[in-house]
Point group: C2
Chain length 454, copies 2
């Protein structure tokens, strides 16, 4: 039985040594019966020359599987060094249509045409061209053409025969789709149901007509939500008149679900591209500096705001002590509020409450938190400082900042979503900076007034 593979530094070193020495047999022994996904992981750790050596050792089917599993940037590097006819015949022809289209989509326009011309199977080339036409973030971009379909008027016996032919090209069956004479999707029939029924029954009579499907232009986020909600492992894709065009399988959608959830986290953390710690320094820098520049600009604006109160600060330097506290609390509350809204929007779990109800609820939460925290800092300052003006200023400002930050944190992502901008933009550095500026303005203004009074 297969044991789960664990990549170690020692393993990679041994492999590299064997490749260097050109020991083809020993390399094959070491790779043994690894899964394509494991071999793809190895590619992350070796150089392009070693990768090429390894690729040539793999048999065709496996090489194509590994190529489909590689990261986009690794794949691009690798395909660059291969001629178009090798790509077409050794890889593309052995892939499922959705993987093949993904690989070809990353090539330059010129190379795309070359590779397509070298595919011998005209049907397959046609399917790939069809898939390439769909936006990659839609159901059309996710679907594969491989599926098993049967006519509603067939008997189970005819079906089983027909399926034996079709099944050879399909990795996993999951559902058998039922269509009418015009290829319009009418339902599904499970293999289990066929096993349990008489061979002479008509498909029509044992099929489940209550089938959920999506159109080619359904956004992939919606596809993911549907498959997650209804626990589907495969989802048929139809065109506008209901004709069955392909199916989306859960493994592709798991990636979408994960990427969507991670994208929101990355946005909130001020990372603008999908990077991993194994990426190179240049990529890591590029993904991070845009938000830092926004933070810097925000900091300069905040400096301007504080500058308006230079004289006050000269007279009451203790006012400066609580500047970071006010700024940080505004930021924290804003990030909390926006995270809840952004996750709710992404998961479609905001419910049917109106924006007004949501804001009221959020402000109630903010009110409770604000009173608690302002109360605590009031007690602390009563004990720790002898300036009552400062004590009162910090508490009133903290309460106000918490209320404002919750309001912005809730309202801005909802507003962005309404005007079709990604609401995750409103999390992270953007909302933090906005709340910094607003919070300090409130703090210093209240301070000026109260120091005048007491």
């Amino acid at each position: 039985m297969a044991v789960q593979f664990e990549l170690t530094k020692r393993y990679i070193e041994e492999l590299k040594d064997l490749i260097q020495a050109g020991e083809e047999k020993k390399v094959l022994q070491l790779i043994g019966d690894l899964h394509a996904a494991d071999i793809a992981e190895i590619y992350d750790e070796i150089n392009i020359g070693e990768a090429k050596f390894l690729f040539l050792l793999l048999d065709g089917e496996m090489a194509a599987d590994v190529l489909a599993e590689l990261d986009e940037d690794d794949r691009e590097k690798f395909l660059k060094v291969l001629p178009s006819d090798v790509i077409a015949r050794q890889f593309i022809e052995k892939m499922d249509s959705d993987d093949a289209a993904d690989v070809i989509a990353d090539l330059s326009e010129k190379r795309k045409k070359e590779v397509l011309l070298h595919i011998d199977d005209v049907d397959q080339a046609g399917e790939i061209v069809e898939l390439l036409a769909y936006d990659e973030d839609t159901a059309g971009g996710l679907m594969a053409k491989e599926l098993i379909k049967v006519n509603e008027n067939w008997t189970i016996l005819t079906c089983l025969k027909e399926m034996s032919k079709q099944a050879a090209g399909v990795d996993e069956v999951y559902y058998v789709y039922v269509v009418n004479d015009n290829d319009i999707l009418k339902g599904t029939v499970s293999l289990k149901r066929m096993l349990l029924s008489q061979n002479r029954s008509k498909i029509k009579d044992i099929s489940n007509t209550d089938v959920i499907s999506v159109k080619t232009d359904t956004p992939s986020e919606e596809v993911a939500n549907i498959m997650k909600k209804y626990d589907l492992v495969a989802l048929p894709v139809i065109n506008s008149i209901g004709r069955l065009l392909g199916r989306i399988t859960i493994d592709d959608v798991v990636d979408v679900i994960k990427e969507e959830a991670e994208k929101d986290y990355q946005m909130a953390s001020g990372i603008s591209e999908d990077v991993e710690s194994t990426d190179n320094v240049w990529l890591l820098t590029r993904a991070r500096i845009p938000w830092l520049l926004i933070g810097l600009l925000g900091g300069v604006l905040v400096a301007k705001v504080i500058g308006l109160y230079e004289i006050d600060l000269g007279m009451y330097p203790e006012m400066a002590f609580f500047i970071p506290l006010i700024a940080a609390m505004g930021g924290n509350v804003g990030v909390q509020s926006s995270a809840i809204i952004v996750q709710g929007l992404a998961n479609n779990t905001l419910g049917i409450e109106s924006t007004f109800t949501k804001l009221m609820k959020e402000l109630t939460v903010a009110g409770i938190n604000g009173i608690t925290l302002a109360g605590l800092i009031f007690l602390y300052n009563v004990l720790a400082t002898d300036s009552f003006a400062l004590t009162l200023t910090v508490s009133i400002a903290l309460f106000s900042v918490i209320i404002f930050a919750s309001f912005f944190g809730t309202f801005i992502p909802l507003l962005l979503n309404r005007i079709k901008v990604d609401p995750a933009l409103a999390t992270g550095p953007f909302i933090t900076t906005l709340n910094d500026i607003m919070g300090l303005f409130i703090y210093l203004m209240i301070g000026r007034i109260l120091y005048g009074v007491f």
Copy 2:
């Protein structure tokens, strides 16, 4: 064909009116052929009395499905008002073993026993008791007992007959598991392969022995990573001697994948419980106040640090202008670094680089960002202020803070992970606060030195 259901305010109002009027028939018409997941969504929007009315109208199978789909807190509320024998006979007996165990696990100890005693099918009760023994965050806690298994020595024909019996209790087949006479897992055989082979072939000869499995105590995060990596829709679970105990299906793991990704985001946003915007004010407050208290404590410590420099600030109040900028940039950089590490740890994509290599790379990125940003703020201050001491202080401090914040942001989550603490703790308010304190200390210290020089 089923159209995707969309919950609207009007729909809920109509439903509530019909329930109030006791119009059973019309309610059933309105609910029509909704999926259990859709009905579960409706339960979020109606009160407990209305929910009970609706439940009694549903037929048994559907009622059990809806119960399995409900949020844990909704389900608890609802089960509280039902007697134990109704729970056992109307719901539990109609559920798959994993869903049944999940529902029972949420009951009080006393109710658990009562419900188990009321289950008429002794085998089912035994299975549930077995499943209840596993930690819910392990493979044992995720698996269901329902699966189809065949003996390796059977022929396809015997198999098909046996499977017809077993299949009735299994929702989705996916794979047929092959075991030996001692119930030890030997491989899988696909329905497709059976369709394509002779009826007299032995299972042994057409089965795939290269099957990935997990033990009952494998953590659910690892289960999710394995299923995602190898694109599996079902994963068999074995005990320490290899006996087949159950299987985990992808729909349960999709939830784990999503929850894991979201948990890290929530931690980074300072939210300590899994809350949604539709939760009540009390839950929303409780999830948020712990991190705000940490932020408040941090703010007070920062105030103490700045307090050490009260005299300097009285003399050079313009030093206060850039306090928020230094604090915010330290926070932003720390959050970026820690997010990359935390995501890498969660996805197992940190590669085989050593901690030292990672830190060096991170510091290089920080160096590039630090020089760029410090350079920009230097230029700005040369133009905007006439204090060279301030100009130099801000730039040097900004550079140092970026370096330190990257170091902590990378090192602390790796350290926490090493000592088996959730590394996500090191994101969000905690790392922000630490960087605030350290950053301002550096800033004010450099300021004191440079103002002394210039």
